[in-house]
Structures are given as structure tokens and as C-alpha cells.
Symmetry: C2
Subunit: 556 residues, 2 copies
């Protein structure tokens, strides 16, 4: 079949990952064939009160389920795989991922009781035929092993998706970025490139993971007592370097934190962590060895309230107590929004008497995402005709667009998209196409999508000034007050200190009701509105606060 | 009177500012004389839901009001003056501050209707006799003019408080740091130094404010349309540099944002801003001039929801609309916790088509606080016997302590304190003394201290999963249900989508009540507990959420 025989078009779009860091999900559609790349989650921002996680709205894919040839996963981070347990309940399509990535996914799906998905482990030389589309892969460097970029060959030409990447010429494992394959793709011609924009504002090259290893060794060398290293559970390269430092300086290693234990088990089993057999000790055995013979690797590098490190810092961890003289390495930088929590954890550790090594004062973290020079190298190798910056907030996408233009992509060939925007390519020419419906699906407990803007607005109101419930029982027959009004408040004022205020509030309600009855306001709705308005006015005058007011009228 | 004739001791302590950035308040007490330095506020952290500001608990000073000789203010930032409107209502003591600082304070006190305070404007050569204590001052560099350090001479020796400072050898105004006076103090002998620890983790010297001016000029030179600069209203040096750039490139300047207008008025009136007479234009006149003839200076550099810049970015500002081609400079770095809000503002500005210049990509901010080399210079000039790092979270205080030791202060002479800890010096020897009661006072609307832990805990609960109110009216005589149970929820689920769940919840309540009545549970308290428990269990099983449950029983 020749190109466009049936007038087919190539559509490229994101269901998540545009103008945000998180819930990455991209799709390439040609006629009746859709290939999805990644299915991530996002952690809620501070406005999404009570929400656990956020995933993309995949209703477009569910409606076109018969066309979806599969979901390809570029690597095993939450913002690329975390949506799967939810999405695969609606979308029964094949899954493709490299070995480690699949190992992490399988653990997730087991926990979520998702069993009926066809899974195929791919490797860098795999070739997938997905309808009229063909997918091949190339190795990249990132802060988790087995990360790949994807090349999707379409009748219109090759679409390349980088996944998350940087160029690390001295990686911790032997997974070198496949520069030759990238060069080859570029030489053959790339129609459109989708590339990671996370660090597009940052000048220079991102450093090698090995440079963190050097700092870790230095810290291990000087530490007199135990060394506790907190880092991202998924950063297996960094875990490997902690293991190496333990071997070098003769320390045993205890593992703390559920996700750390889980990832280390999977990575060791699949051969992604090289670990001497007798290195790992049980947390119960930590205290049986002298301090200078022990290291601990732990979760909690973001100061998360319930994490192992936070509990250790607050001396509330069941197994591990941090002692004066211990060295704690927080091998991470704060993700925006976590600065205060991490700061408090560090303060607490210092107070215990630990020596704390953290990113403000030591080189204990490098990013997994390429900086401007990495991004320009990728663009220069692949030489795309069209460019779509992905994986970043708007200003990062825009900064990446400027880098593309700087290395020769024509400005009119750069498409900055929002989630749901499509880039439509036909006969070699690209333009913005029709919008695909998408959005955020909020997950709160077991509820998927049952918390919307009204509920969030109420939570916000409740969080600011609390609530006053006004209850009154009326006689159905006579319209007289049989009981109440009672006022119960939560989160408004400390009742014992404000009895007088609440007494006066009661009078306000009583007066309002009497006035309404005299005026023969008999409809409940307007009676409630009157109560709400007068009480709200009274409370604002007296306190400058606006609690939620909930009038309840019972009829007997 | 010779030293310690009456066995008096010198006490040095903080009521705020230790282990935190904010609500600075320090005190020096000798016998019956107390001198207070600063009286700041702090902005609430993310756990303090609905709280407007936090001030120090000054009950110790109120109890010892007859001993308090005065409050000396080092400079006009909120974390040093913001507590005054609240504190001066309880504490009627004289106030001492430099001219600009007093100008800013007077505006605050007028707004808060605090009138009966004796105020004295000081200058760098002032000498205050405050009982047995004597205060003198020295000029420092900081991000607001008229900042001073304080030397309090006591019978035990000199106590020096640096205020907030850095060393800027090329300040924007002619307020050079008084190195000579500092050297003189050091030569005469400093018993104890209290010094600003904000940037104690940061290596090197902090840059000169003039370096920001160079970037501003560069931006003005290239801007084709209007230039909008957002910065801290109190940074009069930076405002001066915006004024200078306007003069240099022939632009008129419009001022936007209440606090910006206010500070510019005060600073101009008092001679701290040098401004050509016809420079300022009304916001109504912005659109009458061509874009390249106009600049705007604005608040909102921290992405605050209601600030001028945020409203301009969201196209909801009454007067100023940002147009494609405008240049917006955000001349500030994010205060920890504000990263996301600022990021969103920048994204929004880019979307409008503005060119945005911000700290991640340009040199548009320098700190007002000294880095490690500044701090070491201060320590080296003053050569204190004892050292108390102040103004910083614990890890910063600790880093500052290490700097002091590095330049020769004996480790045993360094005192890291919490708020309320005292350092007691008698006969030239210092040790930790008795604790002074202190803490946080939370301000919510007009309420000072009426929101405590219980209210905050309730707000937190309400914010996470909302509330379910269960109301039922019982017959007093027969104990039967006359009306209800009714369940009303807010912030829990979107009702229309969860009717079934709430119906079932109603059944659970009904069953519980029937069981209780059969078991002759007649006490309301236990009936309520039973309803709460069974409903909570049911809802958690069905939704994995834990809304607050508020059972209300009315008797008729």
C-alpha cells in the first residue's frame, strides 16, 4: 500500500505530560493504528486537597480500544508507569517494556489485581509490528536502568520519542547511550522528534552519575560511625554505588523502606544490581555490629511524612535509631514543593547529633534529565524535520523549542502542545489538528474521578476556616421551633475560648428565623439562605473569617 | 556601681527567629533592664491551615513590662517589624528605629490603630541609655536601606546583634557597611555576638545589588515593548535601579500593587528613592504611550494568588494587561514553598506571548543575606568571645556555628539556641540558663491565639476527606426516631455520582441506631460514638477515605 492511499493522516498527541511534570502519556496514531507511549501518574499539587494521585483521562483510547495496538513503556519511573494499574482496568491492550521496567510494572499490577494483560519484554534490538506502525528502540541514559527511546516508523516517516534521558558517557552500569543508532536514525531522516524538556532551562551538560559515587566514597571513607544513605528507591545506579562503597570500606548494608526493599529485590533478581551474597544484613542485626561496619540505605529523601528517613529522624522508626556520630547522606535534591519537609528532616537529624550530608552543602545528586547541551546533542544527532517538546511545564517546553531552533529546526516546524492538542501530519506537512478530549482524573482512596472541582472547592473552604453546622427541628404542622437552633463548629475556633461568640451566633440564627417566620418565609431553601447570610455576615464582622455554614432543618 | 554588685546576670534569649526564618525577636536582659531587638512575623507553613500570620508569644515581656526599656528595630522587613501591630497592643514600651524603618512601622501602626507608643528615630550615631544598658548602632548592607546592627553595652561587656546583613562594597545608595566601627568594636572587645545565619550554608560572598542593576539595564536595552518588573516591595535599592534604567532608556514608570505603591511613597517622601519628578505615570495612562516608552513596577514576585503580577498574568488585573511582546522581569528567587506558584505565573506569562526573564535563566536577583565569607568577615571583625547564631533554621545555625569555630571562636563558647533558651553570662562566663516560656501565636482574621492545635487538626482532617454530618431527631418521651437520619456531606464525594453510597450509609446509621435502641444505649455520647464508628468503618471499606463524621442528635 502506498502512502496515504486511503487519505490517512498521522496524529501525534499527549494525554499527559504537556505543561506538567508527571502523568506522561503520548500517542501516535495512523489511520486505525494507535501506539501509546507511557502511562504515568502525577502527585497532586497543593490545591488538590486529599487527593492521592492524578492520572490522565484516557477516554479517547477507551473509545478507540480496537485501534490501540499497545502501550510501550520507556522506563520504570512512576510518572511513566504509575497510571497503568488504573488505566489497564479500562484498556485491555498489550504492554511492551524492557526487562527491569516490566519487572517493576508486574509488581504494581499484582498489587492492584490486574492480571489479564498481555505483556512482552522488549530489548534494544526488538522490532515490534503494530498494525501499519513499526517500533524500534535505542538505549538512553537516565536515573534508572533499561531506559529506552522509541522510534515509530509510520507511512509518513519516523517519529522518535526520546523517553527521559541525559548523555552519561561514564554510566554506572554498561548501558551506554546508543549514539550510533541515534546517528543512524538521524541520517535516515526523522520526521518528528518528541524530546524530554525537564531541564531545558539549565545550561551546560548534566553531570555523570559516577560523580555522585565519588562523593559517596569520600563520605564513607571519613565516616566514624554508621552511614545512612537516603535516595530514590528507583535509582538503581545510585544504590549500586552505595553497594560498591560498602564493599570498598567493609560495611554491611541494611535496607529500610518498603519501596527500597521492593526495588532492590526486583533489580537484584533481574541482574541489575551486582551485590556480594553476604552484604545485606537484616535490620535486626544492625546493632550487633560496630557502627563503622554498618551502612543503611533508605527511602525518604524527599522528607515524606511517613517515610523511613523521616521516622528515623523523629526517632519513631521501629527498627533503626539514628545515633550521635552517625552520618546521614540525603542523596537527592528537593522536588519543588518538598523543600520545607526536607529541611525539617535535616534539622531533626542534626539535632540528634548526626552529621548530615545534603545537596546544599555537598555533591550528592545529579539529575537524570539532560541539560541544554544534552538536549542540543540529541537534536543534532536526530535532525528532525518537526519537533514537539514534551515532558515539562510550559516554560520548559518553550525553552526546549528555542534550543531546537538554535540547532536548526525551523521555527514554524516546532509545535508546543497542550495535553489533547494534536499535531497532524499528511503528505509530509504538519499542522495543529483537532483536539482530543483529555484531562486530569483525580484518585482519592478507591474513588477514581468521583472527586471533582466542587468537592475540592469545599475541601479548600473547610481547610481555611472550618465549618459551622446549624441544626433546627421545626414542627411540620405549626412551623414553630421544636429544638435548636444548635450550632456545632469544627475547625473554626477553639470552643472553650469562644463560648460567647457562639452564643451570640445562636441569637443571630434565632432572630433570623423569627424574622423569616414573621415574613412567612416558608420555603426551606430561602430560610437556609437567610440563616447562612446573616450568620456569615455576623461571623465575618466579628472574626474576619468565613467558615462554611451548613444549615440543616428537620421537620417533625 | 561595680560589676555584679547585686549578683546580676546577663541573659540573652530569642522569643522568635531560632530554628526558623521569621518572627525575629531577641532580648538582652541585665537585672531589671530588658532591651528587645526586633518584633517580626512569620508566614504560616502549609500545616497551619487558614492561618494568616504567626507572631512570637511575648507573655514573658508582658509579665516583665516594667523592665522592658524599649524595642529596637534593625530594619523594615516584615520578619522584623510585622509583629509590632499585635505586640504593641499588649506591650506599651518605647520604640527605636532608623528613619525609613520608622516610616514603614508608622504606616503599619496607623492601619492597626495603634497610636499610644513612644517612638524615637535613631541614626547610626545615636546612643541610647536604656537603664543600665547602652545601645549604639552601625550601618550594614541589606536588601532594604537603613539597616543597622546594634551594640548593647552591658555591665558584663558588649553584646552585638548584626541584624540582617551582607557586605556590599558597591551598594546602590551610599550606605556603606561601617567596617571601621565594626573593627573598633572588635578591638575594644565583644563579649557576645548574635549574627544572621540565613545563608550560612552558602559558600563564597553574596553578590552586590549593583550586579542586578546591570542585568536590568541589559533587559531594558533590548526590550521592544513594555517592561514589567516584579520584585519585593521593600527592596528599595532594586526599585531605585529600575528607576535608573527607566531614566537611562527614556521610559515612564507606572507602579502597581498596594504594598509597592505604599513603600515607594514612603521611601520617596523620606528621601530614600531618587526619582525625577515626571517619571511616574498613572496606570490609566499606560496605554496612551507607545510600549517602548513604558515600564511597570509591580508586586507579585512570589506568585502570590492575589498579587498584581499574578492577576496581570491571568488577565484579570483591572488596569494593566500584558501584551504579546512585553518583557516581564521577575527580579526575585522563589522563597521555599513558592516554586510552583511562581512557575505557574511564568508559564501563564509565556502563554500570553510575553518574554519572561526570571532567576532560573537570568541574573535578576541577589540575596540580602551574607554567605559564608561575609559571615566569616563579620566574625573576624568583631572577634566575639561568645557566639550565638540567630535568624535561621537549625541546620543554618549549625553551619554558622562551624564558621565561627573555623575563624577562632572556641567550640565551647558557641551556643545554638532554641526560642526561649537563655544564655546566661555572669563574671564573664556563659552557660545555658533557665528557659523562658515562649511559642507561636497564630493569627486568623481578628483572632489572636484562638486557633490552636485542635482547630488546626480539624482543618487538616476536613481538608483531606471532607465531612459527613448525620442528623437525627428523637422523641424525648419514647426514644424513637422522629426525623432523619439525614446525611449531608461536604468535600467528601460529588453527591450526584454517589447517591447509592450515601443511601447505604444512611442504612448503616439506621441499623446502628436500631441496634443501640434494642441494647438500650440511651446515653447520647455512646450513641454518637456508635454511629461514628460504624459509619467510619463502612466508608473506609467502601472508599478508603476517612471523612470527619459529625453525628448530631436533637430531642423533641
Amino acid at each position: 500500500m502506498s502512502k496515504n492511499q486511503r487519505g490517512n493522516k498521522l496524529l501525534i498527541f499527549a494525554l499527559g505530560g504537556m505543561d506538567e511534570i508527571g502523568k506522561n502519556m503520548y500517542a501516535i496514531q495512523y489511520g486505525n493504528d494507535i501506539v501509546v507511549i507511557d502511562a504515568g501518574l502525577m502527585f497532586p499539587d497543593e490545591e488538590m486537597l486529599g487527593i492521592d494521585v492524578v492520572i490522565p483521562d484516557v477516554s479517547y483510547l477507551v473509545e478507540n480500544q480496537d485501534k490501540v495496538r499497545g502501550i510501550i513503556i520507556t522506563h520504570g519511573h512512576e510518572d511513566h508507569i504509575g497510571g497503568l494499574p488504573y488505566i489497564l482496568k479500562q484498556l485491555k491492550v498489550p504492554l511492551y517494556a524492557t526487562q527491569l521496567t516490566m519487572g517493576l510494572i508486574e509488581h504494581k499490577l499484582r498489587e492492584a489485581h490486574v492480571h489479564d494483560i498481555k505483556r512482552t519484554v522488549i530489548h534494544v534490538n526488538s522490532e515490534l509490528t503494530l498494525g501499519q506502525l513499526k517500533a524500534t528502540f535505542f538505549q538512553t541514559n537516565h536515573s534508572i536502568p533499561d531506559s529506552v527511546g522509541v522510534c515509530v516508523d509510520t507511512p509518513e516517516g519516523a517519529v522518535v520519542h526520546t523517553g527521559d534521558f541525559k548523555f552519561d558517557m561514564t554510566p554506572v552500569n554498561d548501558q551506554y547511550a546508543d549514539l550510533h543508532r541515534m546517528a543512524e536514525l538521524g541520517k535516515k531522516g526523522v520526521l518528528c522528534l518528541l524530546s524530554d524538556s525537564t531541564n531545558a532551562e539549565r545550561p551546560g551538560f548534566t553531570g555523570s552519575e559516577q560523580s555522585v559515587g565519588e562523593s559517596l566514597k569520600e563520605t564513607f571513607r571519613h565516616a566514624k560511625q554508621r552511614v545512612i544513605v537516603a535516595t530514590f528507591a528507583s535509582n538503581i545506579h545510585r544504590i549500586q554505588q552505595v553497594v560498591d562503597a560498602c564493599v570498598l570500606y567493609g560495611r554491611k548494608l541494611a535496607v529500610v523502606g518498603r519501596s527500597m526493599i521492593n526495588v532492590i529485590n526486583i533489580a537484584t533478581e533481574l541482574g541489575y544490581l551486582q551485590m556480594p551474597e553476604d552484604l545485606i544484613i537484616d535490620t535486626d542485626d544492625i546493632n550487633r555490629l560496630p557502627g563503622h561496619k554498618v551502612a543503611v540505605i533508605s527511602t525518604g529523601s524527599q522528607g515524606e511524612t511517613m517515610s523511613a528517613l523521616t521516622r528515623m529522624a523523629n526517632s519513631s522508626h521501629r527498627k533503626v535509631e539514628i545515633l550521635p556520630g552517625d552520618t546521614v547522606v540525603i542523596a537527592a535534591t528537593p522536588i519543588p514543593g518538598n523543600e520545607r519537609a526536607i529541611g525539617k528532616t535535616i534539622d531533626q537529624l542534626f539535632r540528634i547529633g548526626a552529621d548530615v550530608v545534603y545537596s546544599a552543602v555537598a555533591h550528592v545528586h545529579v539529575s537524570g534529565h539532560g541539560s541544554q547541551e544534552d538536549l542540543k546533542l540529541m537534536l543534532s544527532l536526530l535532525k528532525p524535520k518537526y519537533f514537539i517538546p514534551i515532558h515539562g511545564e510550559y516554560r520548559m517546553l518553550r525553552a526546549h523549542a528555542q534550543l531546537a531552533e538554535a540547532v536548526g529546526v525551523r521555527p514554524e516546524n516546532v509545535f508546543i502542545c497542550d495535553n489533547g492538542d494534536t499535531v497532524e501530519i499528511a503528505n509530509g506537512r504538519a499542522r495543529y489538528g483537532p483536539k482530543i478530549p483529555t484531562g486530569k482524573v483525580l484518585i482519592d482512596g478507591l474513588g477514581v474521578g468521583d472527586v471533582g472541582n466542587i468537592v475540592l472547592r469545599d475541601r479548600k473552604l473547610l481547610s481555611q476556616d472550618g465549618i459551622l453546622v446549624v441544626v433546627v427541628t421545626l414542627s411540620k404542622e405549626h412551623g414553630t421551633i421544636l429544638a435548636g437552633p444548635d450550632i456545632i463548629s469544627r475547625g473554626f475556633v477553639y470552643v472553650r475560648e469562644s463560648e460567647k461568640l457562639l452564643d451570640e451566633a445562636n441569637h443571630v440564627v434565632r432572630n433570623t428565623m423569627e424574622r423569616c417566620m414573621k415574613d412567612q418565609v416558608s420555603e426551606w431553601a430561602s430560610l437556609k439562605t437567610n440563616i447562612r447570610d446573616s450568620l456569615s455576615k455576623f461571623l465575618f464582622e466579628r472574626t474576619r473569617r468565613r467558615p462554611m455554614i451548613l444549615p440543616i432543618i428537620m421537620e417533625v
